[in-house]
Every structure is written in structure tokens, then in C-alpha cells.
Symmetry: C2
Subunit: 217 residues, 2 copies
DNA sequence: CGCGACCAAATTGTCAACAATTATGTGTGA
DNA sequence: TCACACATAATTGTTGACAATTTGGTCGCG
């Protein structure tokens, strides 16, 4: 272990730090991201910061203008809705594919997951529910076994972190989404691609509605 | 104008050159892309080549392994099908949105485009038809005015260039796709989102079928 | 002959200095 | 006071040299 010398952060670590900053609201939309400043505050070389910012630009979280630097990208509610709309289609596809491929064990796992979600809502455990929610979506995508679709969804979700976050803790949201989540599980358990796809779409459509209500501007 | 000194290619130009090479088949799948070699052959600094390769990696055209360099990414038929499947969903969404927003002028333009496509097929003008085909897809996406969806589709198409290309010149393809294209135009002209979406999906589904037949391995 | 250690070549990765560009401030004349 | 030119500072972009890593081959040994 070295003494006195801070370990230098790699590009990936810098990118993570900036992502977390955006999610936590420390880095506000539109804020400038000066390479030298980040370099010092994170203990990384400027080259690493530069690379990280380029990566984040490709992820849609950061906006870079030639010779004028990077800033935190403003994702408007309008854009968040469009992102969610695309996600609705792609994740619907995953729902259908998953229904075709799902195994008995996976059905049992999902139903257990559904029970736990119900319990969380009963006990008012919002953070636990949010975690299970994410787990459900990930599981569906994993079962679908469509790497391309999974990648696209990952990109879309990364861009929307801020809005997803805001939404998850709105009062009443868990109660509203629970039956939709259960419907997804039901469609998959029945191995009915159409039903699963419709359930996924209905759920994400309701997310879109919530987004619209959250900020009609 | 400088004498004797080749103008140095920018990262964007290097990326274009590599893309063209892949499309033209000069750069075969799996081929190594050595930074120093490209640097010399294209008259670019190694840094520019490096940047270009990183960009192409994000586009999914190139695969990079740490300390082992970049190679032309192999897009299997299986993956091409998955890509097309996602594109079917997202472009279907664009079809529906376009049907809601299309103007009278745009309807007229599309119908003229449809007539020209018919003419190309009648005269056996494959290359002309291929160009109009692309123009139709682009027009639908433009009318839909969904930047996020447009971006996703762009990424997916970039990855598939090689397979798209192979397919376009298969005998019988134009004859098969013409009625599908006309159905898309018809759905849009009727301002019927459901019909337009279904027509787009049907068309792209037939592309998927053609992909499967092209190489069942 | 097989196999591991070691060396040399090829290639990618990093860095610190420098160049280029853009933003900011300052003074000057009408 | 306003507009404009000009100098200065802040910031990003590029480069060539060097470091680190991987690869392929060769030698020696059992």
C-alpha cells in the first residue's frame, strides 16, 4: 500500500463517480464539467477524465461541444417520455420472448418475487419495492435472452436515471404499479407471449403517464 | 495549399474510411485493425485512428480488447436477426407516430415516392429501388419526429450495414418488398397509426425472414 | 520430442508538455 | 455610455516520446 499517494482513478471509476453525482443531484443539469477540476477532485489524470466524459457522452448523460467542454445533459420530461416510449416497445418484445423461453424454475422464482413485492407494498417498504421492481425488469430481460434488446434498454435506462429516480418515490406509485407487475408475472407464467407483451407495455405506458403528470411543462 | 504534406485525416474521416471499408467488404469480419497501419495508410496520426476506433466500437462495428487491439466485429446472422427484431418494434412506433403527425404535403410526397418505387421495380432498376427504399424509411422517421427513436434506429442500422447490403441485391427482393412498402405509404396516407405500425412491422418481419433464409447456419 | 523459461518484437496505453481555441476582461474612441 | 478591438486567462485538443502488455519464437533441459 502506498503512502501519501492517492490511488489514481481509472476512466471507468471517473464515469461512475459522475453518474452517481448526477443521480444524487450533486451535479445539476447544465453544469459544466471541467476536465482539470474533475481531475483534481477525483484524483485522476486528465486523460482519464477526458475518456470518461467521452464515454458518458455516448451514454447520453453528458453533452460535449468541441473546444467548449462538457456539461451535464439536460434530459427534459419530453425526452424522458420519448425514451420511455421506445423502452416500452423494446421491453415489450423482451416480455414476449421471455414468455416463449421461460422455464418452470424461472416461473417459480418470478412468482416468489411477486409475493415479495406484494409484501413490500403491504409494509410500505418503498425502497425495497423499488429494488424488487428493478430486479423484475432485469429478470425478464435476462430470460428473454436478447442481447441486442438488452443493450438498447440499458442505454435508455441510463439516460433516464434522474427521472426514474424521481418517480420511484412518488406517493402512491407502488400501489399503482403492483398490479401491473403482477400481470407481467402472470403472463410469463402462462407462457403467453401476447399477454406478457401487453402487460409489459401497459406497465411502461403507466410510467409514461406518471412522467407526464410529474411535470407537464 | 501545402506542398508535399498530405493533409492529415481527422478521427471522423478515419471512421468513415473504416466504415466504407467494411461496407465494401475490403475489411473482412475479424480482421485486425492495427493503429499504426491505419495511421500510415490513411495519412492520419495514430491518436486520430485511436479515437476513430473507439467511436466505431461504440457504434458496434468494431471490437476492442484491452492491450490486444481492435478487429472488425463479426455480426452473425443470428445477431442481425435480433437487431432487426428490435428495429421492427422501434420503427413500428415511428410508423404509428408518423401517421398521427403527417401533413397533406408529406402524404403527397410519399405517394410520389411510392410511384417511383413501382417504376424502379418495373424497369428492374435495383440500385434505384434500394435508394428509394432507404429514403422511404428515413422519411417515415423524420415525420415521426421522435429523436430518441431515430437515434436508436440509426445505431441499429449502422451495425447491420453488411447484412442490409447483401440482402438488397438478392433477386426477387424488390418484387417482394414493393407491396409492403406501398402498404406503409397507404397506412400513413390514411392517417391510421395502427395500420401504419402493422405495415412497418410486417415489412421488417419479412426482412427478418429473408435474413434467416440467406444463411441458416 | 515435449515443455517450460526466457527473450525480442509488435502493439497498445499513458503522460506531460505544448498548441489551438474560446471565453473574459480592459481600455479607447465616438 | 456603448461598441469595438485587443490582450489575457481559462480550457480543450494534439502530439511525440515513453511505458506496459501481449505475442511469438527460441533455447535448454528432461
Amino acid at each position: 500500500m502506498e503512502v501519501g499517494a492517492e490511488r489514481l482513478a481509472s476512466p471507468a471509476e471517473v464515469a461512475d463517480a459522475v453518474r452517481r453525482g448526477i443521480l444524487a443531484g450533486e451535479l445539476v443539469a447544465g453544469q459544466r464539467l471541467v476536465e482539470a477540476e474533475l481531475s483534481e477532485s477525483l484524483g485522476a489524470r486528465r486523460g482519464a477524465v477526458r475518456t470518461a466524459l467521452i464515454d458518458l457522452t455516448h451514454e447520453g448523460l453528458v453533452e460535449r461541444i468541441a473546444n467548449r467542454g462538457a456539461r451535464v445533459r439536460v434530459v427534459s420530461v419530453e425526452e424522458a417520455i420519448q425514451i420511455t416510449e421506445v423502452r416500452m416497445m423494446v421491453e415489450g418484445l423482451c416480455g414476449a420472448k421471455a414468455a416463449e423461453r421461460i422455464s418452470d424454475d424461472e416461473i417459480a422464482d418470478l412468482q416468489a418475487l411477486g409475493d415479495r413485492m406484494r409484501a413490500c407494498v403491504d409494509h410500505g417498504d418503498v425502497v425495497g419495492y423499488s429494488r424488487l421492481n428493478q430486479q423484475l425488469h432485469e429478470t425478464v430481460i435476462r430470460i428473454a435472452a436478447q442481447p441486442v434488446a438488452a443493450e438498447v434498454i440499458g442505454q435508455l435506462r441510463a439516460r433516464n436515471v434522474r427521472h426514474q429516480f424521481r418517480l420511484a418515490y412518488r406517493p402512491g406509485r407502488p400501489q399503482a404499479s403492483l398490479p401491473q407487475h403482477l400481470a407481467i408475472i402472470e403472463g410469463l407464467a402462462a407462457r403467453d407471449p401476447e399477454a406478457a407483451q401487453a402487460a409489459v407495455r401497459a406497465h411502461i405506458a403507466s410510467v409514461m403517464t406518471a412522467l407526464r403528470e410529474s411535470d407537464p411543462a
